[in-house]
Amino acid sequence: MSSKTDAEAKLQQFLSKHGREGFLKLLLTNYLFELAMYYLHSEKNPAAQIREDTGYRFYVDSQEKVYPPEEIERFKNDLRAECKKKAAVIVENLRKMEILDKLGEDITQNPAVAELVQKAFESITQRT
């Protein structure tokens, strides 16, 4: 069980070593991975002529054989690595926009910065 002192020391250690860019990379990687898993576990949508469950195809190949657990795990790790690349692109865009320093402020009070961050986020559709 962690104490307050441990939590404080670990947080300070993280920031000293990786800075705010490291914080952003980790949080964005975690979010993009959740987002990818959400979409890749979606159901069919007959109204849009999607007649297969995406979630089914995540675990079963085109020969209707279930992927072995270790292969599914490896695929998830690979997906996570791809999300990490996309997170790095977003952070790089934020750095170029020179707004990394402003992200520790209350972003809801600064619409101009909020808009730039949204713009940086659009890069998730770029091929990486």
């Binding site: 104490s3 939590a7 404080e8 020391a9 947080l11 914080f23 959400y38 190949d61 961050v117």
Partner: protein
């Protein structure tokens, strides 16, 4: 009776291309992610529903982390009026921080599917950082070697 909580596929025939990438005999994570994000975002009028919850989470998390660095945990949690559980120190801080972010973005965002995903990612990140320190990102790098 089914109890699935999965969302429906995005409302476009183009989503069949994503299923195609998953069915490919040599499926590639890179292709799957690139095609999935591209098709999913193409049917959204703007990126805001996807980005707003996590952007506000970033702002709250970073603000808190910098406050801890400058003033210490005790002062930072006092300023944010976060109640720390003696038994579950780290999860209670992550939870308190997300409640603040959630109030700022409002229920329209926080209760949306993307708000829920952002909540999971936010709490996981804060828990990783406060329990593992610098190793949280090193572990991430090693996982992908």
């Amino acid at each position: 009776m089914g109890t699935s909580r999965a969302a429906k596929a995005p409302p476009t025939r183009k989503w069949n291309a994503v299923i195609g990438t998953l069915k490919s005999s040599d499926r590639s994570a890179s292709t799957v992610v690139n095609v999935a994000f591209s098709v999913a975002m193409s049917v959204m009028p703007s990126i805001a529903p996807v980005s707003t919850p996590i952007v506000i989470g970033i702002s709250e998390g970073l603000r808190f982390a910098l406050d801890v660095k400058d003033k210490g945990l005790e002062e930072a949690t006092k300023r944010e009026a976060i109640h720390i559980s003696e038994t579950y120190v780290i999860p209670s801080i992550s939870d308190g921080l997300w409640n603040i972010a959630s109030n700022k973005m409002g229920p329209g965002f926080s209760n949306s599917p993307f708000g829920r995903l952002a909540e999971v990612a936010f709490k996981k990140t804060m828990n990783q950082i406060m329990s593992k320190g610098a190793e949280a990102l090193v572990e991430e790098a090693e996982r992908n070697v």
